[in-house]
């Protein structure tokens, strides 16, 4: 029973897959072989599937561990765990947020809050990895992030722009995991800096560039002809794609100066706000997964100085993003996710800080088919324990995948022949959908 596929059968599969990939010139097929005779570990994967309610994802990652009590799971004012922070009412009946988020409070009718997230990982790297992949960090495998899964399983998108973009300075990201490097997100460190190396050197005219490339092709012709190999050919193709990208009208997506000052101010003149604006511009042009990182939320010290500062940018950026997407009619097809690696301790430490707390924390989902103005799950009066709607990270991610119409029970093999699913055994929270 522990040998679902015989060795020779696997070799045959591999052979067919590799043959196919050599014809199509893509490294994608080998990973999409589905095994119906899947091994025991996948019996728990969800069979649920729906027609996609979301086409795109804007994934906001609060790096360092966002305090749940000071943001989306505030308790009664005066409760010792709240320190000086008070809850405020929002545009959604029965939904409260902390006073650090006054603008967002007016948009909560678009948003579903999940204050009942739990994680098994209490360290940053491990927590971040699990939130991005649904799997625990291991030394022998890299699991793909959701953007990579989406790119592999559905593709689509713009054609000239990469399908998967990461905006921010956070250095941790699982990227394409075990999928080919082509599914790695394009990393944009500074949203106002644009994409590197997409314009000619100063003083190099288009005409001269063309001449140089023509000469280059001439000098390369015999080498290309003599070496009919895939990787050689891939270089020729890659130049075509690169030049196509340099000329792409869509590169303007990265030029935030195309937006009015009012719009840019509205998102907030800080890396997160401008990152949200860039994400919107990308999604508008067909990019399917844009992640914006924000933080560092690791407030072991001076929580009530650092957290409100981070909340200011979050409040302005996210509330504007919701309004803007809504006004453009894009919110229905765009799922906004807010995630973080863990929450922070209800007990305030001697440094007026909060420490890591994976036992209960908050995430948000909005747009893309999610019914706004609701709360799924609940923590106790001090935000210590989840008492209702316990949501593990794979469940949260399965909800995202479900919205995108990704098959949660598809067994995919890594190049090392290990089988994986999109969200491990996560079960989507279907009641969140409107």
């Amino acid at each position: 029973m522990n040998s679902p596929l015989r060795r020779d059968e696997l070799s045959r599969r591999q052979f067919v897959a590799r043959a196919a990939s050599s014809i199509l010139g893509v490294g994608l097929l080998p990973y999409l072989l589905q095994s119906k005779a899947s091994a025991a570990p996948f019996e728990g994967a969800s069979k649920l599937k729906q027609v996609a309610t979301a086409r795109n994802v804007i994934y906001l990652y609060m790096s360092g561990g966002m305090s749940h009590l000071d943001t989306f799971d505030p308790k009664e004012a005066g409760t010792p765990v709240m320190g000086p922070v008070k809850p405020i009412a929002t545009s959604a009946a029965g939904v409260r947020v902390s006073e650090y988020l006054p603008l967002l409070a007016k948009q909560m009718h678009h948003v579903a809050v999940i204050p009942s997230l739990v994680s098994t990982q209490g360290a940053h790297e491990q927590g971040n990895y699990m939130m991005h992949t649904s799997y625990a960090l291991r030394g022998t495998i890299r699991h793909p992030s959701m953007g990579a899964w989406l790119d592999v399983l559905q593709g689509g998108g713009n054609g000239t722009l990469p399908n998967h973009v990461f905006i921010g300075n956070e250095s941790r990201h699982p990227g394409a995991g075990f999928f080919p490097a082509v599914h790695t997100p394009l990393f944009v460190n500074n949203p106002e800096g644009g994409v590197s190396n997409v314009t000619h050197f100063k003083g190099l005219t288009e005409e001269r560039f063309q001449q140089r490339m023509k000469l280059s092709a001439e000098l390369d012709a015999d080498f290309l002809a003599e070496h009919p190999q895939r990787n050689v050919k891939a270089y020729a193709d890659m130049y075509d794609s690169a030049i196509k990208m340099m000329k792409s009208e869509d590169l303007i997506a990265f030029d935030l100066t195309q937006e009015s000052d009012k719009m840019r101010d509205g998102y907030g003149r800080n890396p997160f706000g401008q990152g949200c604006l860039l994400a919107r511009r990308l999604v508008e042009r067909g990019v399917r997964f844009a992640e914006v990182s924000h933080g560092y939320w690791d407030s072991h010290n001076a929580n009530f100085v650092r957290t409100p500062d981070l909340c200011d940018a979050l409040d302005q950026g996210l509330s504007m993003l919701l309004r803007d997407l809504h006004a453009r009619g894009l919110l229905d097809e765009t799922l906004i996710v807010l995630a973080t690696e863990f929450g922070r301790t209800p007990d305030i430490n001697q440094n007026v800080g909060r420490d890591h707390y994976p036992k209960a924390f908050s995430g948000l989902l909005a747009g893309g088919g999610i019914a706004g103005g609701q709360v799924y799950g609940r923590t106790d009066k001090e935000g210590r324990e989840v008492v209702e709607g316990r949501t593990e990270i794979p469940d949260f991610n399965a909800t995202i995948a479900y919205a995108l119409g990704l098959p949660l029970d598809l067994v995919t093999f890594s190049p090392s022949n290990r089988p994986f699913t999109v969200c491990d055994k996560g079960q989507p929270i279907t009641s969140l959908f409107g």
Binding site: N2, S3, L5, R7, R18, S22, G27, A39, A40, P41, P84, G139, T140, I141, R142, G175, A181, S196, N197, T199, H200, R208, F209, Q211, R212, M213, K214, L215, S216, E218, L219, D220, D222, L224, H227, P228, Q229, R230, N231, V232, A234, Y235, A236, D237, M238, S241, A242, N301, A302, F304, V305, R306, P308, D309, Q350, N351, V352, G353, S416, R418
Partner: protein
């Protein structure tokens, strides 16, 4: 193979000893011819034609890339192509193997295999030490079996035994560590069996655990010493005393007592934090401890009938003979000996395949780390011969490579057709390969640096400083009495308190500023608060680490220790005091206090002068070659020195390079997984080669490439220089014509040609 084990060992010792001693002098051509004969037999049997011999031009570029990891300079190419010696290929191979470039190139390879990170999860100090360890092992051509034994049997502190990086890299993941060991050194994929019996191979989960049990006692763990554990005990005592002085009932009854208790409790918290930080910051010396009390158990969900879940696992080898510890040997040491024994069924095969693949681009078993009963060598006789070569050389990597590089097969033209996955390749020549990321980078560095490349010390010195600092700190703390360490921590605790108070006050100031809509003030206050917050920790530099290191320095100089600066005198700390503390890392004080026996030996002024004179001489010689006018020499030398700093080789940089850097764009591994580097084409690569600053540096007038071109007067010679620099050959007639036509069409500068050539596919490939 039913030899008496002892006899076999004796025999092997004899052979390896003899051959090892002789290996550097023997003619590498004889064993190379043996390999050639085996290949010829295989070609005849399979009716394949060998590739024609490679030209000297193809050979020189290839062998530079394969041995020292970069293309040759114009001078190096000219020198080889112009040499008349009949043995010039063998001589070049020897010269390159003996150069530092060998260590650089093979370091990049092993860094990819071993997932080397010089910081990050491995820890900054172990990462630094491990990086240098790998490089040094290659520099000294340490026998491969010894290198692996040192890794597997490593324990101790990073500065005593830098090989512990092997365990630190998989800190808290001993099961993964074993899966990686099996793959890297035994060519066996067994990670599936970590959670269940291997579905496609014979390995069981039980075997996985039995093998892990050998090294399970090797645990990455924070070192401690009497000062630290004593200080922690005093802290604990303080907690106990507090509880005793304020009995729960009485304290609750009296508001006065309660208030006093709360105040003292708060003080205790700051002291505890300070004590904790002293411990954490001193253990840059995290190391690997061998603790045979640590026993491995089966997982709670173990599902097979041969044992119950959570039973203790006894170490047992999964292949070959047993690994019984000899008297005085730990289980890990016995295991390391078993692993690297010439009798191990897979150990030698794997390294023989690695070396072969480095030269030919493919191994005899592919993938070489996925050996199994069905994945066997394409040419078993050749495989056996290579294994014998490795064993008989005493695992001398350079000696083996020397033989392989001297085969006619290696020195043949590359195979033009792609070898399909799964097809048997008969090694009629090397396969065509794209340069690795590091080969690309180092080739660009070669094109840029006008003067010959020398190892860059910038990062190495930095890594060394990290290690020295950690060693000083732990040894210095060791000199304190527990009382002194505790007093120091208590003094710093006042800074922690002040920082917490500042954070509290800042909140109100920020709220006020917000009410005034003074965003500037808010920003300043937030920034200031985060500065002040670090003040608590920073204070440890002054109150604990500095006096400890000063004491260490005095003692190492043979002077009596200075009187203890520690006291119980109360201190008062203000916010201004906190702002004045500069070191973000309080252990930095150790870097500023020289301690005999720890810091790298400084050169004497005479030595320094001699060193500088030598360097200047070499640079002047370069200036001569490039015909730099006398008036420009000074600035030329300055430029060369700058180039060496800014354009250092891949192996001399932080490992791995940061995301988004050229090396990573070219496909350097992120070092998260074994051999995770990529040689695939990507759009950012094309964009880099067309539009980046890297290309501007290559085309700048001070680059080796442009100097070599401009050293020539007439245009044909310039064209030839460009081809020599980039492709180690002269242009063909067709290429000359293409360039002449392009010139007629308006491309009038050599930069045009360079740009076009760098952007050809052939530049990136190793023919």
């Amino acid at each position: 193979m039913k030899h008496h084990p002892l006899k076999l060992v004796l025999l092997l010792c004899l052979c390896t000893g003899l051959l090892h001693a002789a290996s550097s002098k023997t003619d590498p051509l004889a064993p190379a011819r043996e390999l050639d004969a085996l290949l010829a037999q295989d070609w005849a049997n399979n009716k394949v034609e060998p590739n024609p011999p490679a030209t000297d031009e193809v050979f020189v570029r290839r062998v530079y890339l394969d041995v020292v990891g970069r293309i040759p300079t114009v001078r190096e190419a000219e020198e080889f192509l112009g040499a008349q010696s009949a043995n010039k290929r063998a001589e070049l191979i020897d010269r390159l193997l003996a150069s530092d470039g060998y260590a650089q190139h093979f370091f990049n390879y092993w860094a990819d295999v071993l997932r080397l990170q010089s910081f990050g999860a491995i820890g900054a100090v172990p990462g630094a030490a491990y990086t240098e360890f790998i490089k040094e092992s290659l520099r000294t051509n340490k026998p491969y079996d010894q290198f692996v034994r040192e890794l597997i049997a490593s324990k101790g502190r990073p500065w005593e035994n830098p090989a512990i990086g092997y365990y630190m890299r998989d800190n808290r993941m001993p099961l993964d560590n074993f899966a990686n060991t099996a793959r890297i050194f035994l060519g066996t994929r067994i990670e599936c069996a970590q959670c269940h019996n291997h579905p496609f191979d014979k390995w069981t989960q039980m075997q996985f655990y039995q093998m892990t049990a050998f090294t399970y006692a090797n645990e990455p763990r924070a070192y401690t010493n009497p000062a630290i554990s004593g200080m922690q005990a005093l802290n604990q005592q303080m907690r106990v005393d507090l509880g005793r002085r304020f009995p729960a009932k009485e304290t609750a009854a009296s508001p006065e007592l309660a208030a006093q208790h709360a105040a003292e409790l708060e003080h205790l918290k700051f002291v505890s934090q300070s004590v904790n930080d002293v411990q954490v910051l001193s253990m840059g010396g995290v190391g690997v401890v061998y603790d045979d009390k640590r026993k491995l158990e089966l997982p709670h969900d173990y599902q097979y009938p041969d044992a119950a879940p959570k039973t203790e696992v006894q170490a047992r080898t999964m292949m070959g003979g047993p690994a019984e510890p000899r008297p005085g040997e730990s289980s890990t040491e016995a295991y390391a000996r078993w692993m690297t024994s010439p009798e191990n069924p897979r150990f030698t095969t794997v390294i023989a395949n690695r070396l072969w693949k480095m030269a030919f681009g493919l191994a005899l078993i592919e993938p070489l780390d996925e050996m199994s009963e069905v994945n066997t060598p394409s040419n078993p006789e050749l495989m056996r011969r290579l294994e014998t070569l490795v064993r008989e050389s005493g695992y001398d990597m350079k000696a083996c490579l020397r033989v392989i590089f001297n085969t006619r097969a290696y020195q043949a033209a590359a195979t033009k057709q792609e070898v399909p996955v799964g097809a048997t390749y008969h090694f009629t020549g090397p396969v065509l390969r794209r340069m690795s990321a590091e080969q690309m980078w180092d080739s660009f560095v070669t094109l840029i640096n006008a003067a010959p490349l020398v190892p860059s010390k910038t990062v190495a010195d930095n890594l060394h400083a990290r290690i020295t600092k950690a060693a000083k700190i732990i040894d210095a703390i060791d000199l304190l009495t527990p009382e002194e360490a505790f007093q120091g921590a208590k003094v710093a605790a006042e800074s922690y308190r002040a920082a917490a108070q500042a954070a509290n006050e800042a909140r109100f100031k920020i709220e006020e500023a917000k009410a005034r809509k003074d965003t500037q003030a808010v920003e300043t206050l937030v920034k200031q608060t985060s500065e002040v917050q670090a003040g608590g920790r920073r204070a440890l530099g002054r109150s604990v680490f500095l006096p400890a290191v000063e004491r260490l320095a005095e003692i190492k100089e043979g002077r009596p220790a200075p009187p203890s600066p520690f006291s119980d005198a109360p201190v008062h700390v203000t916010e201004a005091d906190l702002m004045a503390l500069k070191d973000a890392d309080p252990t930095m004080v150790a870097q500023r206090v020289p301690v005999k026996g720890y810091d790298k030996k400084e050169l004497t002024p005479e030595q320094e002068q001699a060193e500088a004179a030598r360097e200047e001489q070499a640079l002047l010689e370069t200036a001569d070659y490039f015909k730099i006018p006398a008036a420009n020499r000074k600035s030329f030398i300055a430029i060369c020195r700058n180039q060496r700093i800014y354009w250092a080789r891949a192996a001399d940089m932080i490992q791995p390079a940061f995301r988004g850097t050229y090396l990573r764009i070219f496909g350097q591994s992120d070092r998260e997984l074994i051999e995770n580097s990529s040689r695939d084409a990507s759009v950012p690569q094309a964009l880099t080669l067309m539009n980046s600053d890297l290309l501007l540096a290559v085309m700048s007038r001070d680059s080796q490439l442009m100097l070599a071109i401009n050293r020539q007067a007439d245009s044909e010679a310039k064209l030839e220089a460009a081809y020599l620099a980039l492709l180690s050959r002269k242009p063909t007639e067709r290429e000359r014509t293409a360039w002449h036509n392009a010139q007629a069409d308006g491309l009038d500068s050599m930069e045009d040609l360079v740009y076009a050539l760098v952007n050809t596919t052939r530049f990136l490939f190793i023919e």
